[in-house]
């Protein structure tokens, strides 16, 4: 393929691709990391074999695509153009799907989504509640495109925004459109993107750099991974437009090595973009030069912080540095550098093509557009969801996520990763919006949303996040390193039942100092998990301290397992499964747990037959005198 030298050549190629392909039927198989783990590769291969066997290759195409988002039910197969959606499809179903759906036009009922309330099967992907309440703009490409084939991206209008930007707008006009759109940084901070770009554009030093932050590391978050895996050209196109706007000729994609598929697809996409003339010198004949290098992160969470990330690209240790002069003015190699998150860049082609007005109509006045969340934890429909800003957390969890499994009660939702906080039930109607979440003591973060049910202990949750941060902080500044060390010690004490009321006061004091005194955003926001737990779940913390009780029955030192002799029927399942041999049968033919031997693994509860339910969790202090 020779390089495209003008927007006209690009459009000609687009028409050629579209007409060559015609109106084929298509089987798309979700090949995001989740579905790959569930056998998507084998499934795709089986479809290709079956299509060849039935001699349908001339009218049916099989396409492995990016993540479809409904990860709970993978592997996902969607048949186009009808948009028939089959969930948890396996190799054994392939022959039947081809025979029934593609040849006879019938449905394979058992693979369709079943509405849990009505029991009705739902045929089309857009009618499934998980998808119905979403507004998928950024993720729309994921389900249609084979990320390793640039033709797929071009067929759906790819790189048209780049041509428009290069030939119809000045860099200043692009910045104005982005400012006007109200787009705010999707990586967590929510800083206005256009303003950031303008700062870099106006900085006098040269050269300038445009950088993609794909060092997504929040526990439970995988929005950026899925975008980069599923539609890398979308991000690359956004980056080239941004580089043109700020005046950069060199760009970087910082992607963590823990994302092998994202690394691979990014590399392939960059090579293809070069081949077609979207990267390199004289892009599309515009005279603008730009190219991208990929930098692989080596596994430090803190490297997602802007100055740490730039240190890492420079070949130094990924540690934040004081940023009293912004990185947009003095960043990579002390030059003006525009760093945006994956999702932020992915928005750019849409804003350029459809305009700021279109973008602003989605979301709230202060937080425009859509936001992708990874909805995980104790929720029925785990997956990636894209919704307009301003949707309530309740709608996301209960309408899209279909609520909490096992008839359990909702307890809290953690947003914003380790820098965010937990929000209780009374805040479920809070709209997801940068400012509203911050006001409530959490933050948007990059879009992790971890749902917790009544079996989750909030003290243990805070302890988990502080443990994560204490080990993932760079350890450079004293408040963050030593402060987190002490917070972790205190939280460990409290979960062991050794905490005092002074400890709670000490936690509050540590939070207030770490928040203002830490060097970087990681340290400053690291207190949010603890502060939000103290604020919204103070009673639960006090129960651990004053009553030595863990109300959720999680903290092992504070609970004991007990077999109710009235309910035990002596079936022996618990004794057979107990890994510590702590359960014996008494003369009365009921079982009893030796508290000294019990390791509190909870296996006895899970194996005790539903009809007996003889094993129960009780506060540990009930046994302390007896033992």
């Amino acid at each position: 393929m020779s390089k495209l030298k003008s927007p006209g050549e690009l459009e000609a190629l687009r028409h050629e691709i579209q007409s060559k392909r015609g109106a084929k039927q298509m089987i798309t198989v979700c090949s995001g990391t989740g579905c790959l783990a569930c056998g998507a590769v084998e499934l795709t291969a089986a479809f290709i074999r079956e299509i060849e066997k039935k001699e349908l290759a001339h009218k049916v195409e099989v396409r492995p695509t990016g993540c479809h988002g409904f990860c709970e039910r993978g592997p996902i197969v969607v048949i186009l153009p009808q948009k028939i959606c089959y969930l948890r499809a396996s190799v054994e179903d392939v022959a039947e799907i081809v025979e029934k759906t593609l040849i006879k036009g019938e449905l394979v009922d058992r693979l369709l989504y079943e509405d849990p309330e009505t029991g009705k099967r739902i045929r089309y992907v857009d009618d499934i509640p998980f998808y119905k309440h979403q507004q998928r703009i950024l993720l729309a490409g994921n389900v249609l495109i084979d990320p390793t084939n640039i033709w797929d991206y071009l067929a759906v209008g790819g790189y048209a925004a780049l041509a428009k930007a290069l030939f119809e707008s000045t860099p200043e006009e692009i910045i104005d459109i982005v400012k006007e759109s109200g787009l705010r940084g999707r990586g967590g901070g929510g800083f206005p993107t256009g303003v950031k770009w303008e700062t870099t554009r106006n900085a006098s030093a040269k050269p300038k750099y445009a950088i993609v932050n794909a060092d997504e590391g929040d526990p439970g978050a995988y929005m950026d991974r899925s975008l980069l895996e599923g539609n890398p050209h979308g991000i690359i196109e956004g980056l080239i437009i941004g580089a043109y706007a700020i005046g950069a000729n060199e760009g970087f994609i910082y992607v963590r090595r823990e994302y092998p598929l994202a690394c691979k697809n990014t590399r392939i996409a960059i090579e293809q973009a070069r081949e077609y003339g979207f990267l390199g010198t004289d892009i599309l004949g515009s005279g603008f030069d730009f190219d991208i290098s990929v930098h692989h992160g080596a596994g430090a969470f803190v490297s997602g912080e802007s100055s740490a990330l730039m240190n890492a690209i420079e070949g130094r240790v990924g540690e934040p540095r004081p940023k009293y002069v912004h990185t947009s003015v003095k960043g990579l190699w002390d030059k003006p550098s525009c760093l945006n998150n994956v999702e932020t860049w992915a928005n750019i082609p849409f804003i350029v093509t459809k305009g700021a007005g279109w973008f602003k109509r989605m979301g709230t006045p202060g937080s425009t557009g859509t936001k992708i969340f990874s909805l995980v934890g104790k929720v029925n429909n785990t997956g990636l969801v894209e919704v307009p800003m301003g949707m309530s957390i309740r709608d996301i969890i209960f309408k899209i996520g279909a609520g909490i499994p096992g008839n359990k009660k909702f307890k809290a939702v953690q947003t914003g990763g380790p820098s965010g906080g937990v929000l209780p039930e009374k805040l479920l109607d809070l709209p997801v919006d940068f400012d509203e979440l911050t006001k409530a003591g959490s933050m948007m973060g990059s879009g992790g949303m971890i749902v917790m049910d009544e079996d989750t202990c909030m003290v243990d949750t805070a302890r988990y996040y502080i443990d994560f941060l204490a080990h993932e902080s760079c350890g450079k500044c004293v408040p963050c390193r030593e402060g987190l060390r002490q917070m972790l010690k205190i939280l460990n004490r409290i979960t062991r039942g050794e905490g005092t009321m002074e400890d709670i006061g000490l936690l509050e004091e540590l939070c207030s100092v770490i928040k203002v005194a830490s060097l970087c955003g990681l340290g400053q926001s690291s207190v949010n998990p603890v502060m939000s737990v103290l604020k919204y779940f103070g009673k639960e913390v006090e129960a651990h301290v004053k009553d030595k009780r863990c109300p959720a029955g999680v903290c092992k030192n504070l609970i004991a397992f007990h077999i109710d002799p009235e309910k035990c029927k002596g079936c022996g399942l618990c004794a057979k499964n107990c890994p510590a041999n702590a359960i014996t049968k008494t003369a009365d033919k009921v079982h009893v747990i030796d508290q000294d031997l019990c390791i509190k693994c909870g296996l006895c509860i899970s194996v005790c037959p539903e009809k007996f339910r003889a094993v129960e969790k009780v506060p540990a202090f009930q046994f302390q005198n007896a033992v």
Partner: protein, 183 residues
């Protein structure tokens, strides 16, 4: 390069552009507590003891004076209740590595159990080795609460002739660092 005029604790101070607040204050005879600052080295901003309150464009915030560049019209407060609260807690977190400041604030014990290390990780040794001597013998190993000072075994022979960082160490603790060949 020009100079800028600003106010530190109500006192008029002029400083060369490109200097930091801490440098301007020290030159004007105003003391700001500090631990990781060393004149010859790049600003590091790790100990946070040098935090001050700056007011610019009617906005006040707490910054590390060792890294914050001087600016025309800046108003700086080196002492306030909020700053003292931060410094006192830092003294307790660093206990017993900031004895002078502890005395100044009347702190006689820490409420924390500081069984971690006898090093404040100010990094003066590591940075001196790298920035002044261009040797990179010393480095920070691990991260977060597992961070520690370490030496590259293949390079430590350099230390026999140098040892210049020893005198920069707060109390010479680098000599006692576990794992160091000279321990």
């Amino acid at each position: 390069m020009g100079t800028v005029a600003m106010k530190i604790d109500g006192k008029n101070v002029t400083a060369d552009e490109g200097k930091t607040i801490l440098q301007a204050a020290l030159a004007a005879g105003i003391d700001i507590p500090h631990m990781c600052y060393l004149e010859q080295l790049e600003p590091y901003g790790a100990c946070r003891l040098c935090m001050v309150e700056v007011t610019a464009n009617k906005r006040t915030r707490m910054v590390a004076s060792c890294a914050y560049p001087v600016k025309e019209g800046l108003e700086v407060k080196t002492d306030s209740e909020a700053l003292r609260k931060v410094r006192k807690l830092l003294v307790e977190l660093l206990w017993p590595l900031a004895p002078e400041l502890a005395e100044k604030y009347g702190i006689t014990a820490s409420r924390f159990s500081n069984d971690h290390t006898d090093c404040s990780m100010c990094g003066k040794c590591v940075r001196y080795c790298s920035e002044i001597k261009k040797k990179e013998v010393l480095y920070f190993k691990g991260r977060g609460i597992e961070r520690e000072i370490a030496a590259v075994p293949e390079l430590v022979s350099e230390c026999v002739y140098c040892q210049e960082c020893f005198k920069e160490c707060n109390g010479g603790l680098i000599l006692k660092q576990a794992g160091m060949p000279w321990a």
